[in-house]
Amino acid sequence: MGRGGLAPVAFGRRRLAEWVAAPGGPVMCYTHLPAGPARGAVVVCSPLFLEASENARAELVLAEALVDLGFAAQRFDYRSCGNSFGDPQELTLETATLDCLLAAARLREHAGTDALGLVGTRWGALVAAGACGPLGARAVALWEAKPHAQAYVDELARTQAFYDLWRDERHPAGYHQQRLAAGHPLKLLGWRIYPAFAASCSDEYVAGRLPGAIPTRLVHGRGREADSERLTAELATLGCPVTACVLDERVLWWAGVNRLLHPDHAPPPLEAEAGATARWLAERVAQ
């Protein structure tokens, strides 16, 4: 088991990085603690694959904005991802949600509070939604969430199809989805998406994973209005008070592809949203 190092990195702030024991292998948690008693705590569920890399900075900015407001924040790497250990073939929606619950439990120990909120981006929105019930979360913010997990897997397959075209390879429509269903991993820009992961997404909806009426902030980039409207409608049927925001800018995921086209491609614009999300959560999570 790894040991954590604790060091102050800025005035009035404490940062902690440590591995937390988990069934699939130690999970790396990055903890941000305020100088005084925490008013509440927020767990951040990252997206996956290249999207995790692209969103890392926005999540860091979000965590520090929460600390500025007197909150603790926990970011973590799902099993087999980033600095966590584990078998990538065991990464599924269920196991990632378990990792989230362990990260939240550790955050509670550090922060000494039961007042919790969650943030989830893209596929991480499904994880965050699924953790709301077990954690008794008071609010959840979802960035660029797909209403249906299967739509996310389809989007990964289309991204690979785009990359195929880049390399002058052509396949029939649905080729990568069919290969996944047949048990072959999807290799996407150096990541492997395993059949178990895809299977775990087949019947999962953000709305279906939420425990009921919980305040929810939806943030989507320009061009994702349909996802925002559908989620808003589905959450309304649960009685969730929804705050829906559509950014002026498009959020480009899998910019590794775009980076090949545009070397000066800017990072996703969610960094600018971090402060607003932190304030929104602070108002609803504070104990």
């Binding site: 954590g4 990195v9 890399s53 890392a56």
Partner: protein, 246 residues
């Protein structure tokens, strides 16, 4: 699997940077550690498919302590996003990592990097006699349009003179490989004749590790090169067998 990893916040040029130390479970050498330098991207060591994390763990599993880090302003290290410019490597960050490792008792260092991390590793050779070797994956070579970087040439020259072990590894046709080939007739070629310098070119894209099948092969190659470089057994079989050497 190296389960004894230790998260570290360490000082470097007035900043406090984040790193992960992975001690060797069955050390092959007591005084040497490998510093793993990622590409300079906002996500730090976790980017690039976490290949640099896997490389650091493979190195530790092979018997060499490793230390991977997030440059200032990337990953978990604080500060504004750094400006990345050729010939302006993040040497302060490397020196901070080495100082931390020195405090743990290590005296010799191998630097293994990717892209800008490789560029930084190579440019760390001059003036650092404790650098025993550098593994350079998809290293930036050119200093500008149609010319080899003078600091790169000077670093390769010093590495050859000092007997520093060097591995250049490229994916055939990658932009950095094209740069490398362009630089060869511009003063690089004679320097590569030094006996401690290896050049390997793999069939497939290496830059950013976008080929999932190539990742374990590259890691395996670096580990095997490391065994030769550290143990001084250059009479062993070449690090690559099925791959085409340039």
């Amino acid at each position: 699997m190296s389960v004894a990893e230790r998260a570290v916040f360490f000082p470097a040029a007035g900043e406090t940077l984040f790193g992960v130390f992975a001690p060797a479970e069955r050390p092959r050498t007591a005084d040497l550690a490998v510093v793993v330098l990622p590409e300079a991207i906002p996500a730090g060591m976790r980017g690039e498919n976490a290949v640099m994390v896997h490389l650091a763990r493979a190195v530790a599993d092979a018997g060499y302590a490793s230390f991977r880090l997030d440059y200032h302003g990337t990953g978990e290290s604080p500060g504004p996003l750094p400006v990345v410019l050729r010939d302006h490597p993040f040497l302060d960050d490397v020196d901070g990592a080495i100082e931390w490792l020195r405090a743990q008792g290590y005296r010799r260092f191998v630097l293994a990097g990717s892209c800008f991390g490789a560029h930084t590793a190579l440019l760390a050779v001059p003036g650092r006699p404790h650098v025993h070797g550098v593994a350079l994956l998809s290293c930036l070579i050119a200093g500008g349009h149609d010319r080899a970087s003078q600091p790169v040439l000077a670093s390769v020259a010093e590495a050859g003179e000092r007997g520093v072990e060097v591995l250049f590894c490229f994916g055939r046709g990658d932009p950095n490989h094209v740069e490398f080939e362009a630089a060869r007739p511009l003063g690089l070629d004679p320097l590569l004749a030094a006996p401690t310098i290896d050049v390997e070119v793999l069939d497939g894209p290496l830059h950013s590790f976008v080929d999932a099948d190539l990742q374990p092969r590259v890691i395996d190659m670096v580990v095997r090169w490391l065994a030769r470089a550290v143990d001084g057994r250059r009479t062993l079989a070449p690090v690559t067998e099925s791959w085409t050497s340039s």
